[in-house]
Amino acid sequence: MNDSQSDAAVEAGDALAEWTGTLAERLGAEGWVADFATPRLYVDREAWVETLRRVRDDEGMPFFSWLSAIDWSKEVAVGETVAEPDDLEERFEVICRLSSVIDATGAHFIAVLPKDDAWIDSIVQLFGGAEWHEREAHEMFGIDFRGNPNLTHLYLPDRFEGNPLLKSFPLLSRDVKPWPGIVDVEAMPSADTGPSTENPEAPR
């Protein structure tokens, strides 16, 4: 990448940051981030439905792309932990992506939920497509979407217990058999990256 290109990239990034900042101000968002070309706005959960309605009607983003959640957890049953588990504030983030159907405008709207009180108002009234996405987030994370008329299992069998996408949910196949993909992760003997600082222990 030469200099002029990277300058252009920085400028594009700045333009996106500026756009995100002014949008956050208009909506009264609690915070915003615009790195990696992905604008994210943090919204108070009490204002969730009203904010998304304003984004849909006034900000030209009527396209309901998806809704999902992240489980920010200090401990994980499988996979890797966050970079600094000690500083992590455990929480759920519910993310709704809305975008335009005229240009490339689009943003993530995020509400933070405490783990012991994980509820948020449903947006089915605003976006018909939200029903399935909320049902999925409900069964995968155990989040309560208040007002969703049909909050039952979507993918999982009716009698399935637990919420598979929680970080505390184990992956049974890993208990039965160690990870076969470890060969791709271990540093090769000939690797020219110098002495490996990675923990050679297989992730569970």
Binding site: H108, G129, P203
Partner: protein
């Protein structure tokens, strides 16, 4: 049955058109010839009329979002091209671009063009499956043979480059895999597209355009097809947008939105093509839009093989990929619509979370609304016109 009873029965039949008949629950599936996978519909019907329908999905749920949390970034490409297996190559593009965005590596120019050519081939092959299956669902058998014959040609080309017909697993961070045959000795001299690829592609595109004309003649003006599809299953633009319907299904409703024009992550700005769009949003328009998209894709490929620059297939990438902390969402215009990946990296070897925005999931979610009040004979016509793949619904 006594005479009186029979008379009573007859009189009941005579007036039943005026009366409310009791609703019946009709279970369709989990396996139905036109479901493109394992889907079950539980419908409450009043005679021929569907009052309410509840799709039951999840028969193919493989938990890819959980599996991605225990795989390295490089291993996940093998998972993602199994989501919408009819267009496996296209699924990799947005994922690999999301990882490249986080790492800060630009793919080489030649790799970008190869990605573009192969994703358009994936689009053609996906739409040709629609062109074969949809008329078949409506009772027209012949287009199946024409469409699948040419699809085979396109899949052969895909296979000659990637080594896989359905699951290419061909994209790497910073570029594409060097084509089959590159061993340790040839590592420095990248293996490139196979000999004769461009001339074979030109031939194939001529044949694809010819089969479009054949299907056009057989299907587009066909009275029976029109009777089954015109004004059937109408999705107004505002409903489509509120349900997150994208791709040809959205464009058939009159919304001229195509990520290849509006947010291209491949060099689509350097080729000429038009957004195929229609206005009524019925089953017929969804068919017409897809037929036009095959033609536009061939047009794109023919331009791309003239424009593709020479150069390396891979940018310089460290041997062990370190993905910095960050969150990136990248979406791509897949054959079926907007396909996106939200990659959340905590700086490890595997993503902390990977959200997959699969197209058919949203496209199918409108089914309960769309089928309300429809007739049972229209059910297959409406479902087929949405062109979904269950692997893409269930992930």
């Amino acid at each position: 049955m006594t005479m009186d009873e029979r008379l009573m029965h007859r009189s009941e039949v005579a007036v039943s058109v005026e009366l409310q008949t009791p609703d019946m629950t009709l279970n369709i599936g989990p396996q139905h010839p036109s479901t493109h996978g394992v889907l079950r519909l539980v419908a409450r019907v009043d005679g021929e009329k569907i009052q309410e329908v509840e799709p039951v999905i999840g028969y193919m749920h493989r938990g890819y979002e959980k599996l991605a949390e225990v795989r390295t970034y490089a291993q996940i490409t093998a998972l993602v091209n199994r989501i919408d297996w009819v267009a496996g190559f296209a699924n990799e593009i947005a994922y690999i671009r999301a990882v490249e965005t986080l790492v800060g590596i630009e793919p080489t120019e030649r790799a970008q063009w190869i990605r573009l050519i192969l994703s358009e081939m994936a689009r053609i092959s996906s739409h040709l499956v629609f062109m074969s299956s949809y008329p078949l669902e409506l009772g027209a058998t012949t287009p199946l043979f024409y469409a699948l014959r040419e699809r085979e040609r396109v899949l052969d080309l895909l296979e000659s480059v990637t080594g896989g017909r359905f699951h290419p697993n061909f994209n790497r961070v910073g570029g594409v895999k060097s084509a089959a045959g590159g061993g340790a000795e040839t590592k420095k001299v990248s293996q490139d597209l196979p000999v004769g690829f461009f001339s074979q592609t030109r031939d194939a595109m001529v044949k694809v355009l010819a089969v479009c004309d054949q299907i056009d003649e057989l299907v587009t003006g066909n009275e029976l097809i029109k009777a089954r599809t015109v004004d059937v299953g109408v999705i107004p633009a505002d409903k489509a947008v509120s349900y997150g319907i994208s791709g040809p299904n959205l464009r058939a409703s009159g919304v001229a939105f195509d990520l290849r024009k509006h947010e291209a992550i491949l060099p689509y700005d350097q080729v000429d093509f038009e957004i195929a769009v229609s206005e009524h949003g019925d089953c017929y328009d969804r068919y017409v839009v897809r037929l036009e998209e095959i033609r536009q894709s061939s047009r794109i490929i023919l331009q791309a093989i003239d424009k593709i620059p020479s150069g390396p297939l891979q940018a310089k990438v460290p041997r062990i990929l370190k993905v910095p902390r960050g969150q990136a969402y990248v979406r791509n215009e897949n054959p079926k619509g907007e396909f996106g990946y939200y990659v959340i990296s905590e700086g490890g070897r595997m993503p902390y979370r990977l959200k997959i925005r699969s197209t058919s999931f949203s496209n199918l979610s409108i089914l309960p609304w769309l089928l309300k009040g429809a007739l049972i004979p229209d059910l297959v016509a409406i479902m087929g016109s949405l062109d979904f793949v269950l692997g893409d619904v269930d992930r």
